[in-house]
């Protein structure tokens, strides 16, 4: 029999894991999902399931913009105490009977690489890790106008919106990929490595965005698209689920994705 702790111990080799629920109990199923949403927990409630996620189930809020390294705010417990949503989520987790593991570093194994495969349109595309890019990767694609590339990515990733900078007609052949948040340092490393376009989850608007604007003003017309942190990071779910399935063939393992929860006034018609 395999219990949740067996799987947690395996993924904990790659970094920090925090867990909730009956982790010493046997499990039949593993669900890999970027966010342990109330909906996902409710759907699995009452089953012998381990749910593995990257977004903290109780929204513990880091205090620093450190891509790839989560640093919890020392004021989070105080700030969230008595919060109705956090308390309700806590109660749901407790009553669900399932085990939940928060494993942010584990996602780094496949995070930006999975995005790069989608950008290239091939699951076997050669992907290069950029030196000094803190996990950012480069992938070469057939020459594609940036606007068309973004439209395709939005469809394939399930993004309802993208925030972009640069000209739609710019043709990209080398694309930098950062699933999740792209820091100016990562953007700089990608541009230094020859990226003509960068696809990320989000960037810091008062740091990353003006950096891109200034590159453009200085003649380096790098185009950029932010598709959403959840949207880009959850592309890794399937590859991560395969890792679990290979290590634990007796378990049923599945990856689930969540829809983009946002809308804009224009979406209303």
């Amino acid at each position: 029999m395999i219990d949740a702790d067996d799987v947690i111990a395996r993924i904990a080799r790659h970094g920090r894991v925090e867990s909730w629920g009956p982790t010493a109990a046997p499990i039949d199923d593993v669900v890999v999902c970027w966010s342990a949403t109330a909906e996902a927990i409710s759907a699995a409630a009452g089953t012998a399931t381990l749910l593995i996620c990257r977004a903290h189930p109780l929204s513990a809020s880091p205090t620093r913009w450190d891509p790839g390294q989560l640093v919890e705010g020392d004021s989070w417990d105080a700030r969230s105490a008595g919060d109705a949503v956090i308390d309700a989520k806590r109660a749901l987790i407790a009553s669900s009977g399932i085990a939940i593991a928060w494993a942010p570093a584990w996602w780094d194994l496949e995070r930006s690489r999975s995005l790069a495969y989608v950008v290239a349109g091939r699951p076997d595309a050669p992907v290069r890790v950029v030196p000094g890019g803190d996990g950012a990767v480069l992938v070469d694609i057939t020459p594609t106008p940036f606007g068309g590339l973004v439209d395709r990515l939005m469809t394939e990733c399930g993004a309802r919106h993208a925030l972009t900078t640069g000209d739609d007609s710019t043709v990209a052949t080398r694309v930098g990929c950062v699933a999740g948040i792209a820091s100016p340092d990562q953007i700089a490393a990608l541009v230094d490595a020859g990226a003509e376009a960068i696809v990320a989850g989000e960037t810091v608007e008062w740091e990353g965005a003006p950096f891109l604007q200034d590159l453009h003003a200085s003649g380096r017309h790098v185009v950029f698209a932010a598709l959403g942190t959840a949207t880009t990071e959850q592309l890794a779910n399937a590859a991560l689920a395969r890792r679990i399935a290979e290590d634990f063939p007796a378990l049923r393992v599945r990856a689930i994705s969540h829809a983009d929860p946002t809308w804009t006034p224009e979406d209303l018609g």
Partner: protein, 269 residues
Amino acid sequence: MRSITGRDVVERIVADIERRGFAWDAETIDGFKAGDPDRPVRGIASTWMATQETLAAAVAVGCDLVVTHEPTFWDHFETPPAGAAHPWYRTKRDWIASRGTTIWRFHDHHHMAFPRDPVLDAFFDRLGWLPGTSGNSVTARTELPPVRLGDLARQMSAALGTRVVRVIGAPTQVVSRIGYGIHDLASALDAARDCDVVVVGELREWDAFEYFRDAGALGRDVALIVISHAALETWGSTALVPWLAQLVPEIPVRSVLAPEPYVLRRAAI
């Protein structure tokens, strides 16, 4: 008559702040960021973000002292990505020097050294919300006549002149009490507790979006409206002009708008 320099201008700013009973905090990111503070100034531009494009616009209208709210070198603490030896940093610094421009950042004290936060008040005023707003800065609360969330988002988009308005919550949800946050979930929690909708200019997606996604499922119908950082704060830089002009009557003072960095792209249906 002796020419006025950038240093003279800042001395008058600091003197006025201190005269009104506020201290000038030495531990601040406010200060000269580029150029020569002792160079005579012909005109002052107030802007939200000193991108190269914005600086060029300032030069074009005869302004060689730029008062900017946000960083010049792409990092909140002005530590440029890839370091000060990197060509891009040198490119922008050399460009600034070649135009004889001096840049002074006014961020911390812009928010704190007035009886009310003028940056947020300018935002409330732009929306026509000042009469219904009590409290100060991000702890403020705005009471409006009940309005559907979808209509509120449309109104905000039109008043702010931006398409970058993303919402989590049911469009038909009726809201009337608005709270605010800074750029992370922790800052928005207080507002989430006692308001129908929280408005934030730039918000980290990876904790905040999940909180608001869960809120509805957990029986707490608090909505989230995320606009760009620029759409929140650019009005404050425009509103600064009359104050600067009365401190420095000898030379023109102008507002130079920094363009919003992003274009919002919607998924093809």
